[in-house]
Amino acid sequence: MPRETIAHFEIERLEVLTPHGEVDTELLPPLSDKQFLRLYELLQLTRLSDERALSLQREGRLGTFPSSLGQEAAQVGSAFALSHEDWVFPSFRELGVFLSLGYPLARYYRYWTGDERGLLCPPELNIFPINIAVGTHLLHAAGVAMGARYRADPVVAVAYLGDGATSKGDFHEALNMAGIYGLPLVAICQNNQWAISVSRKSQTAAETLAQKALAFGIRGIQVDGNDVLAVYLATSEALAHARSGGGATFIECETYRMSDHTTADDARRYREPAELERWRARDPLLRMRRFLERRGLWDDAEQTALEQSLRQSVDQAVAAAEATAPPVAAEMFHYTCYELSSRQQQQLKECSDGSP
């Protein structure tokens, strides 16, 4: 008995819209026109809120900020598929996810001014704090998924991560556990081709990121991450699979980080402008707009009206964020633990008495 093939695997890619907004009707998700319009509105809202954040940062009114430019479809399309009771574990670049779920933009901005209160998640949402230590939060999603299963709650834990995050050990430990325990977990990877200056190719020799799922015996799929409908469809399928007890899915959304890594970065140092141009042609907003136009749902006037109204709400969010009183020193102590130690109480007193 010589060399024998004992296992076969295939990785699939899903696309629904062409760059011109044409649609594969067989795959078109069963959404109403209102929902298609809502998706587009969220894409626009994300882009405008992001643009505003960048200009606030330039004016010194916001701290370092990671732009989501170019990744709106991956964020909005996936978040739109979630149910109210699902738990979300963001990375640090998910403005579109927060907005799609209804997180107050003013609060999001507060966080990026360096105010911890910006992460206080409203009670009706289950969004874990923004995760800065790349790749480490998938384990929390695994824990919540296991907790939900233990309580027989119909909750799915949805974690967002980047291509860079797939290199971290915790990514591996989390998805391996998701496989073993058959957890209701969906990992949404925005492969935006870069981890700061490290390209996707330098991050792993695997041909696709989706195939990393094979190491864990879970579902893995690649989608066109600039196609909001494909992302929505893949996420919906993964959620249904998870909710029905089928276990976890790893979704690779192929997209592109059109901006610098953050406002502290200068991407011209390490990547070709031509690459950016190629991806600009695949802009996720444009594609959805073309789809709506083809369907007779959209025109220039509507676009203008939408932008105007969205800009107004962004203005309001900025105003609200900036009207917030700054945090007081005691705020540092309040949530370190449930009850302060005697030394912490002493320190709190000392610090509230003095000035910085």
């Binding site: 911890e116 992460l119 230590a133 929390h140 695994a142 824990g143 430990e173 949530y335």
Partner: protein, 320 residues
């Protein structure tokens, strides 16, 4: 009341916590069918089943991360790391996340979880099986650290840790697992966190120790009027009891297994040097493990503070 050793007392505490509160889950490597490599979880899997008591893959960061998610979801995970030496790969999860999720979420989420792990030397085990790195975790605001020293405190501290609203690292002194036996109350009870215990009263000097070194400190102190403090909670430690005792005795000796430099003994000494120095009649001495890579079994007795070394330090202090 039954006479129990430390393993049995912890096992009883786990059993009672599981029976009383269905939010409690026990998991880790080899804790289910095998009952843990020291048999601390013996019988729990048979009684409570796969959903409550389960094995994990070999992934310590994963175990802690899983506990974080479970606790944030409202459960009460009691995770076992097989030995303290294997928590090092989980330090990011402990320090970056478990310690901070309450603060980062402004109280919306929290991590009421327990990490149980055997620690300390004196059992002739292989490398990394006798670590005493408790000080690392005492420098992480948001994390509590406790160490029982007897079967009774083992049960009471465990139940207190499980009820605590914040993450607690519960260190089990392996050398004591089967060495100490005593009567342990059958019904569940709490030994409050943050409170030290006067294990021996005295007025000529104060000795602070914890875990397996308490037993040694008590032996060494038998013939002295030494106040021996069993610290029990290392973080946050009981400043008041420490300062009150030193105010009375004027002399302080700290005993721990960990390397001297940067050990918890340093913080205790510094606290007294800052807040209680006026009552000191003598230098603050520390009898500790040496600043070396923890040796393998043939040399470990040279590294662990011995009764003799402790007595020598007592005598030295009393000369002042």
């Amino acid at each position: 009341m039954a006479v129990l050793n430390l393993v049995q007392a912890i096992n009883q505490g786990l059993q009672q916590a599981l029976a009383e509160d269905e939010r409690v889950l026990v998991f880790g490597e080899d804790v289910a069918a095998n009952g843990g490599v020291f048999r601390v979880t013996e019988g729990l899997h048979a009684e409570f089943g796969d959903a409550r008591v389960f094995d994990t893959p070999l992934a310590e960061s994963g175990i802690v991360g899983l506990a974080i998610g479970l606790s944030a979801y409202g459960l009460r995970p009691v995770a076992e790391i097989q030995f303290l030496g294997f928590t090092y790969s989980a330090i990011e999860q402990i320090y970056t996340h478990a310690a901070r999720i309450r603060a980062r979420s402004r109280g919306r989420f929290s991590c009421p979880m327990v990490i149980r792990t055997p620690y300390g030397g004196g059992i002739k085990a292989p490398e990394l099986h006798e670590e005493s790195s408790e000080a690392l975790f005492c420098h992480m605001p948001g994390i509590k650290v406790v160490v029982p020293s007897t079967p009774s405190t083992a049960k009471g501290l465990l139940l207190a840790a499980i009820q605590d609203p914040d993450p607690v690292i519960y260190l089990e002194p392996t050398r004591l697992y089967r060495l100490l036996k005593e009567e342990v109350a059958e019904e569940p009870y709490i030994t409050p966190l943050g409170q030290a215990r006067i294990a021996q009263a005295g007025d000529q000097l104060t000795i602070v120790a914890w875990g397996s070194m308490l037993e040694r400190a008590l032996r060494a102190a038998r013939n002295y009027s030494a106040e021996v403090i069993d610290l029990l909670t290392l973080s946050p430690f009981d400043r008041e009891t420490l300062l009150a005792s030193v105010a009375k005795t004027g002399r302080l000796l700290i005993v721990h297994e960990a390397p001297k430099t940067g050990g918890l003994g340093a913080e205790l000494a510094a606290t007294v040097a800052e807040e209680g120095i006026m009552s000191l009649k003598a230098p603050i001495l520390r009898v500790t493990g040496y600043d070396v890579v923890p040796p393998l079994p043939l040399l470990e007795d040279f590294n662990l503070p011995s009764e003799e070394r402790i007595i020598k330090a007592i005598e030295e202090l009393l000369r002042y």
